[in-house]
Amino acid sequence: MNTVAFAIIAIFTLTFALAAATNPRLMHAALSFAAMFVGIAGFFFLLGAEFVGLVQIFVYVGAVAVLIVFTILLTRRETQPHHGFKWGGVIVAGAVFAGLLWAIIKTSAVSIAAPLVKALTVKQIGEVLMTQYVWPLLCVGVLLTAALIGALVLVMEDRSER
């Protein structure tokens, strides 16, 4: 595994994540959010899970980020005042990061190098998905249908009760 590739993808991802979290301009932050997911997909490629990396780009960048951009466009007014920024969140996030960092460095079992494994093919994923994981697959199908119908009901204007 290449260290230079890891460093480049890590800097790319964390920069855009920080931009998405702190930029006061909405559209810039939403597009930085989309770029961050491309960075995370790069991590998935580096770790040998290429199928999940592509699924991530299709679903997150292609659907979720576009959905967020559309929602920003639908809920903006002409004179949008600048929303505030609470600084207490920085302290809490810093404390949580310090705790996680301490836990990661203290654990000696996680400083192992990558073992050499065979590549994971899409054929294997498809076989496992259809035999071992068929119940979760059907449940996720029902969940997605319910979520879409629910979202439509929430957004639909009520014309019959005027």
Partner: protein, 104 residues
């Protein structure tokens, strides 16, 4: 020096904490949802990193968990954004400090 598991865990912890920062300190409803999505993405990265570095059998368990996690996160983002639109239609603002009709 090849990257060990610790590097990936530190990056995913940093991503989680940046998502926590976005969810706690922004006052726009959509940015809180962005922070939540970022935290979910950091957890996915953690799953894949542990799957890769601890692979003893060819079972793609980590990959399966992340595929379902991505699907569920997309469904949750859709419902959350529908709620934001519905609330905006009622309050005409997206500042979460002003959603205080239930305040005692």
């Amino acid at each position: 020096m090849t990257p060990t598991l610790q590097f990936f865990l530190i990056v995913s912890a940093a991503l989680f904490c940046i998502g926590l920062l976005a969810a706690l300190s922004r006052r726009h409803a959509i940015f809180i949802l962005i922070g939540i999505e970022m935290m979910l993405a950091a957890a996915n990265l953690n799953f894949i990193a542990f799957w890769r570095f601890g692979a003893r059998s060819p079972a793609p368990i980590g990959v399966m968990v992340v595929i379902f996690s991505i699907a569920i996160a997309a469904a949750e983002a859709a419902v959350g954004l529908a709620m934001v639109i519905a609330i905006y239609r009622h309050f005409r603002t997206t500042n979460v400090d002003q959603f205080n009709r239930l305040k005692g």
